[in-house]
Structure formats: C-alpha cells, structure tokens
C-alpha cells in the first residue's frame, strides 16, 4: 500500500505533461567556453513542483547546465550561449531579462555550504535586504518560516544572532537552503548539496527535499545514484555535454532505453 502511494508510481510520463505543468523548457541549448563546446543542443522540459535529478560523470556539463537556469554562467567572461531556456513563458537569455530578478526566482544551493560571515539571521534575510525590504516584523516572519521549511529552526532559534560560521557543515548547508527559500523562489537548484556532508546531514537534506517538492520545483545535481533514485521524480542522464536520456526516475533506473545509461547506473562506466 505504501509502495503504491510513493511518488515513483504516481508521476505522469514526461511526454504527457501539460504546458502549465512545465517549469523550465530548454530548447536546443548549446554552450561554449571560448572555442570549447560544453553543452550540445540540449532540449528538455522540467516539470513543475517535482524533483528532477541530473546525473552523469564528472565534467559532463551538469553544473554548467543548471548554471544556465539562473544565468550564473554569465560570470565567465568567455561564455557563449545558443538556444533558449524558457521560464515563465519568457526566454531568460533575452537581452531585456532582469538577471538579479531571475536569480531571486531561481534559487541555488552550492556543493559546499557558503554562508556569509554574518549572523544566521542576516544570512537568511540577505536576499530580502538586497530587494530593499527592511521592515523588521516582516523579516522576522520570513526568517522563522524559511528556517522551519529548511528544518533548521529548532536548532538555531536561540542563537539567531550568532555567527553562521559557528554552525556545523550540515547546519550551514540547511541554512544556505533557508537563505534561498526566504526569497520564495519558484525553482530551487541544488548542486550536489550533500557531497560535503556526513550521512546524517545527508539524510536530513533528503527529507527536506521530499518536503519541498509540494511547493517548489527542485532540480538536484548528484553523483550519488541512490540519492537520485530516492528523492527524484524524474532523472536526466548527461554525458559529455549531451542529454543521453531523460525520463521518470522509475524508468531510468529499471528500464533505461539507452545502453550508456544502463552502463552508468549499473556502475560499469563513469
């Protein structure tokens, strides 16, 4: 009975998704660093309010791909992008796109926790302060909600004004997630969020992702295939900048269509 209720058995097939269920639409996305082509014409549709995992060997372009979704790749001077990424019916590479605003809608959490060297409270409200919000009561509310969502509230509620650097690595990573959630993004990108964490903290983050799926579209990049199988609804397999296979997680891990995918998930390759 439990098994039938789990998301693995209830997600619709990708090709049967309605337009309104799509959070990100990627059309023929190609990316170059200088002369080197890093992403080869990728097209995929990432469903709304679901967890999508992106797997693949190191250097396959996973991080570069998700860096396109909040245009963090702009920071590289010699980066050139072709194709489209449509979020909210707009191509985010359009020259009129307000990039800071896009980044508040598409939150991102990095491989290593990177809290700012200020208090826990100031870390969480950082994005709001940037937006110019300074109403104390509003900020207090946001901090509490974000920390509760990130399952960190009980641990830090008494030391909100202590330096965030005093937290453990696992707590710091949840703080960074709370920091992203405080902006109420539509999409939350997690770039190998547990690779620097111990098993207990990893478990906490995975439970957290499970809770977040009802409100946010979550994209998680991971090297840990078990993790991808555990937390995600859909999985994309990238190899050398090409999207090899993209399907619901159940299919990928049980009946992969491509030889390469099977080789990778069974550990014979990569």
């Amino acid at each position: 009975m439990d098994a039938l209720d789990s998301p693995l058995f209830t997600v619709p097939k990708l090709n049967s998704l309605a337009k309104s269920d799509i959070a990100i639409e990627v059309n023929d996305l190609a990316l170059y660093f200088g002369q080197r082509k890093v992403l080869h014409e990728i097209s995929m549709r990432i469903p709304k309010n679901k967890v999508t995992a992106i797997i693949g060997p190191s250097g396959c372009g996973k991080s570069t791909l998700i860096g396109c979704f909040n245009r963090l790749n702009d920071l590289h001077q010699d980066c050139r992008i072709e194709g489209q990424v449509i979020i909210g019916e707009r191509n985010i590479f359009h020259h009129k796109q307000n990039v800071p605003e896009l980044r508040t809608k598409v939150g991102m959490v990095f491989q290593r926790p990177n809290p700012f060297p200020v208090s826990v409270y100031e870390n969480v409200v950082y994005g709001l302060r940037i937006k110019g919000i300074s109403d104390r009561r509003l900020l207090d509310n946001v901090v509490e909600n974000a920390l509760i969502k990130a399952a960190l509230w009980d641990e830090v509620k008494d030391n909100l004004f202590d330096s965030a650097l005093l937290l453990s690595t696992g707590q710091q990573q949840r703080l960074v997630i709370a920091r992203a959630l405080a902006l109420e993004p539509e999409i939350l990108i997690l770039d190998e969020p547990t690779s620097a964490l111990d098993p207990i903290s990893t478990l906490l983050i995975e439970e957290l992702i499970n809770d977040l799926r009802s409100q946010f579209t979550v994209i998680i990049v991971t090297h840990n295939l078990q993790q991808a199988a555990r937390v995600s609804d859909y999985t994309a397999f990238l190899h050398q900048g090409e999207l090899i296979e993209y399907s619901d997680t159940d299919t990928i891990f049980t009946l992969p269509a491509q030889q390469q995918t099977e080789a990778y998930i069974t550990g014979r390759y990569g």
Binding site: N70, L72, L75, Q77, P100, E101, R103, T104, G107, M108, F110, R112, N114, P115, F116, P117, Y126, G127, R129, I130, K131, S163, L165, V176, R179, A180, L183
Partner: protein, 533 residues
C-alpha cells in the same frame, strides 16, 4: 655513496647555520637600535649629579701697560655631561651651567680636564627648574614670604600657596578681563559714547579687575627664594618663576624615580621652551599623530576604491597590467620626489588657485597657497597609496569565489556583492595596507620639510577658535624635530639628549598606532577566520 651523503648533509648544515646567523644579525641590529635610542632617550630624563667645580682659566689682562695672561680661578656649579668623568681617558669636559638669566642659554662650555682643580658633589646643591624651561643650580638659603622668612625646606608648601595665587591670576585674566576687553573693543567699533552708562560700567569693571590683578601680582612678587651661587654671591629668585626644586646629589632612588617620571610627563605634555632645548615636545607629538591620522583618513578610501576597480572591474588586458606595475613602482619613488611634487602641485598650483578663488580681492594672501598640514598629509597619502592599493587588491582576491556566487544567486548585483560581501571580508587585507601606510607615513620626514613641518609652530592645528581645525597651518613633527636636532646640536649639548628622547617618542608613536591597527585587523580576521584557513 656514503661520502656523497655526508657532503649533502654538510651542505645542509652550512645553509642552516648561514641563514640562522643572518637572522641573528638582523635581531642584533634591531636590538641595538632600540637599546641605543631607549637608553639615551631615557637618560635624558634621569637625575644627573650636579657638581661644584673650580676651574683655572687663563684670562687676558693688563698690568700697567703690558698685556699678560693671568690664571684665574673660577668657581661654578654645573652638570657634567661626560658620564665617565672619573676615567683617565677623558680630556675635555662639557659643563652645563645654569641656564637661568644666562645669555648663552643651553650651550655647554668645554674645559680641559686639567683645568679643573677641584670637583665636589655638594649635598645641599639644588636644581631649581623655572617655568620658562631654564634651570638654576644654587644652594637655597631661605624663602621670603610677605609674612616672614621660611626655611628652604618648606619650598613645596609655599609653592602650593603660589599655585593658588597663580590660578587666581589666570581666572581673572580668562573669566573677567578678556571678555571685558572684547566688550570694550566692540563698543569702540560701534562708536558708543564714552559717557554712555554701559560703557562707563564696563570701564569701571575693567579697572576693578585690573587693580585686583595688580594686587595679586604684587602679592606674588613678595615671595622670593634666596639662593647662594657658586662664587658666594646671593641671589633672589621670584618664587612665581620657579617650577620645581630638587637636590640631585641628595635624592634617594624614589625621589629620582618621581623626578624621572615627572620629567617624562613634562616632555610629552609641555610645549618647547628655550629654543627647543628644554620643555616638552607636545606640539610635535600632536602634529605627528594628527598628520598620520589625516593621512590615513585620506589614503584609505582612495586606495580601496582604486583597488576595487583594479581587482573587480578592470578588464584583464595589457593596459591594466601596466597600471598595476606602475602602482607597484610608485611605492619605490623616493619620498623627497613626492615632497617636490606636493610643493609644486598641491601648494603652488592647487593651493594658489584656491586662494585666488576664495580671496579674490587680496592678491598677496597665501592661506592654502602656503605649505601646511593639509597638503602635507595629502602628499603623504599619495606616498602611501600604492601600499594600500596592493594589499587591498590582495585582500579582495582572497575572498572565496563561492561566496560571491552565493551572493549573485540571491539576486545581488555585482556592486551589492562587493559592498555587502567582498569588501567586509577584505577588511583584514585593507587593514594590513593601512598598517604599512602608517608605519611608512609616521617615519617619513623628507617631504614634510617642504610641506609645512617647521621647527617651531606657534599654534596647534586644532584649537578652540572657529573653525577649530586649521589644516592650512604649519605644524610641528617629531621627525623634523629630530632632523633639526641632529644638525644643529653640538655634540654633548642639551639638544642631543632631547633628540634621542624625541626618537624614542617617535618609535613609541609608530608602535602605538601600529598596535591599534593590528588589533583591529586581528579582530576582523577572527570574524572571518574560517575562510582564511
């Protein structure tokens, strides 16, 4: 094989010993500098024994119609500046006689040791310090007060009475006479009738306080100290002119320590007297600290902004590389060149134009067009700018990329990221630059010589007169004082001791300013510790 191994080990030993002994050499050099400065500097304040000397001098005289050489005995109280006067090697002796009421104030006389026929340290010989910084060596006899004669041992008690009278004098001058004086001057300008009641009242009040002042001054003049000099003459010294009295030969260690500490305090808190051979160096200390602070206030924003552009915004091309090299090379430009630049550009060009803009009706006035504190600290800011730029850039580069990405990912623009994340985290680097700038700025003298640092400035750059901070004024500087002392003092003269004391004070100033900056940096470092590991 074994031979080669031993040879290698020997080479290594040799390298260790060589480099280690060089470190020793550096430490010895440093310690000897500090030891010399501190010992000579502190000796300036220590009680020196006072001697009674009998000197045979040959004097040109006339007997009848013939000019002849006479040998005349001269008795003198003096402080002998050769410490090892008892040694046989000493041929000449520098005698520092009383400087009170003397024409050759401050200059020691030189006599051949063979001329000294008698040398003694009288217990009752006193050194009497005057309020004008000079001193008198004499044996105090008694004190004349309006009421009676008192013994010299009551000096301190009577000195307190005098101090009260002095305070009254100052009070009348400051609180009553000078406001009335201003009032009268104003009335005269407004051409108030001499018969107007207000005018008459003011004049009467003025006369009242003036006569009160005269009374007090007369009362003061009735106190005097009667002393006997070396040749037996008696002399009467107004007690109002005396500052302290102590017996150098009879003093025990605690009295000597008390005198020592009070002399040090006098040195840092008093203004120079007797053409900077006595008194303190407070204006120079004040000028040095103020100049360094102004310099720091000017150089920090300039250097930080330049470094932000170079590290964050400037494109990575050859022009920027050339700019970077130029900045580093600026640090190597001799400071005298900066001085000439400051004089030519800031004082004559910028200052001159400012003057003609602000005071167009007066062509001969030079307020900003003359060397002063503002241009001196601005030039020093330029001189220390490269240091601040280089270390700030270093600090900015050390801020981890992940933190910048974290900030961008939360919707911050580049400017917001720099302002809120990068710059606060680079503050330890900025502080390092400021520390180096202070260390260089406090010790630099050459450019200041051209830019308004003078041997003696009448007024401090900050006072109670509007607008309180007078940046256009000339100022005194410890380094300039030392430079001047080194060139103009006779060896063994009073100025040499003062010069070493000023050196010591300059070292202390640099040390204190640096310690403050280092402490701030360490606190900032602790705050961001995790990222510096």
């Amino acid at each position: 094989m074994i031979k080669a191994f031993w040879a290698d080990q020997e080479k290594e030993h040799f390298a260790i010993i060589l480099s280690g002994s060089l470190v020793c050499l550096v430490i010895i050099a440093l310690l000897s500098i500090v030891a010399l400065i501190v010992s000579r500097g502190l000796a300036h304040f220590w009680v020196q024994p006072a001697y009674f000397v009998n000197i045979n001098e040959s004097v040109q005289g006339q007997t009848g119609s013939n000019a002849e050489q006479f040998l005349v005995g001269r008795k003198q109280y003096a402080i002998i500046q050769n410490r090892d006067v008892a040694s046989d090697k000493v041929k000449r002796v520098w005698l520092q006689e009383s400087t009170y009421m003397e024409a050759n104030s401050g200059k020691p006389t030189v006599v051949e040791k063979s001329q000294i026929t008698y040398l003694d340290k009288p217990e009752r010989l006193a050194k009497i310090g005057m309020t004008d910084g000079s001193f008198l060596l004499a044996i105090p006899k008694q004190i004349q007060t309006p009421a009676s004669m008192a013994s010299a041992s009551e000096f301190h008690v009577i000195q307190e009475q005098i101090e009260q009278l002095r305070e009254q004098v100052v009070e009348i001058q400051v609180q009553h006479l000078s406001p009335l004086h201003e009032l009268l001057a104003e009335m005269r300008i407004r051409e108030v009738e001499a018969t107007a009641p207000a005018y008459i009242k003011a004049v009467q009040a003025y006369q009242h306080w003036d006569s009160r002042l005269t009374e007090l001054q007369q009362a003061l003049s009735r106190y005097s100290l009667v002393v006997s000099l070396a040749d037996g003459r008696e002399m009467s010294v107004p007690l109002a002119d005396t500052h302290y009295m102590q017996y150098p030969n009879a003093a025990n260690i605690f009295e000597k320590l008390y005198y020592f500490i009070s002399q040090i305090w006098l040195f840092v808190s008093d203004s120079p007297k007797q053409a900077i051979t006595a008194g303190g160096v407070f204006p120079a200390l004040f000028g040095t600290v103020l100049m360094v602070m102004l310099m720091t206030i000017m150089v920090t924003p300039l250097g930080v902004l330049a470094a932000i552009y170079l590290a964050e915004y400037a494109p990575n091309n050859s022009v920027v590389s050339i700019i970077r090299i130029a900045v580093s090379n600026l640090a190597g430009v001799p400071s005298i060149v900066y001085g000439v630049f400051g004089l030519g550009f800031f004082v004559y060009t910028v200052g001159g134009h400012l003057d003609s803009l602000i005071f167009p009706e007066k062509s001969d006035v030079a307020v900003f067009g003359a060397p002063g504190l503002l241009w001196a600290s601005l030039t020093m800011a330029l001189l220390t700018l490269p240091v601040v730029i280089v270390s700030t850039e270093e600090g900015l580069r050390r801020v981890p990329r992940t933190l910048r990405q974290g900030s961008y990912a939360l919707g911050a623009t580049k400017f917001e990221t720099i302002r809120l994340i990068v710059l606060p985290m680079a503050t330890p680097g900025i502080m390092t630059g400021v520390i180096l700038a202070i260390a260089r700025g406090a010790g630099e003298v050459a450019p200041l010589l051209m830019l308004g640092a003078v041997k003696f400035a009448l007024l401090l750059p900050i006072d109670a007169e509007f607008p309180y901070i007078h940046l256009e004024r000339q100022f005194m500087h410890l380094g300039v004082l030392i430079y001047d002392g080194a060139f103009h003092s006779q060896f063994g003269g009073g100025e040499a001791g003062l010069m070493f004391a000023a050196c010591m004070l300059l070292l202390v100033v640099v040390l204190v300013l640096n310690t403050i900056a280092v402490r701030i940096r360490n606190r900032l470092r602790n705050q961001y510790q995790i990222f510096n590991g």
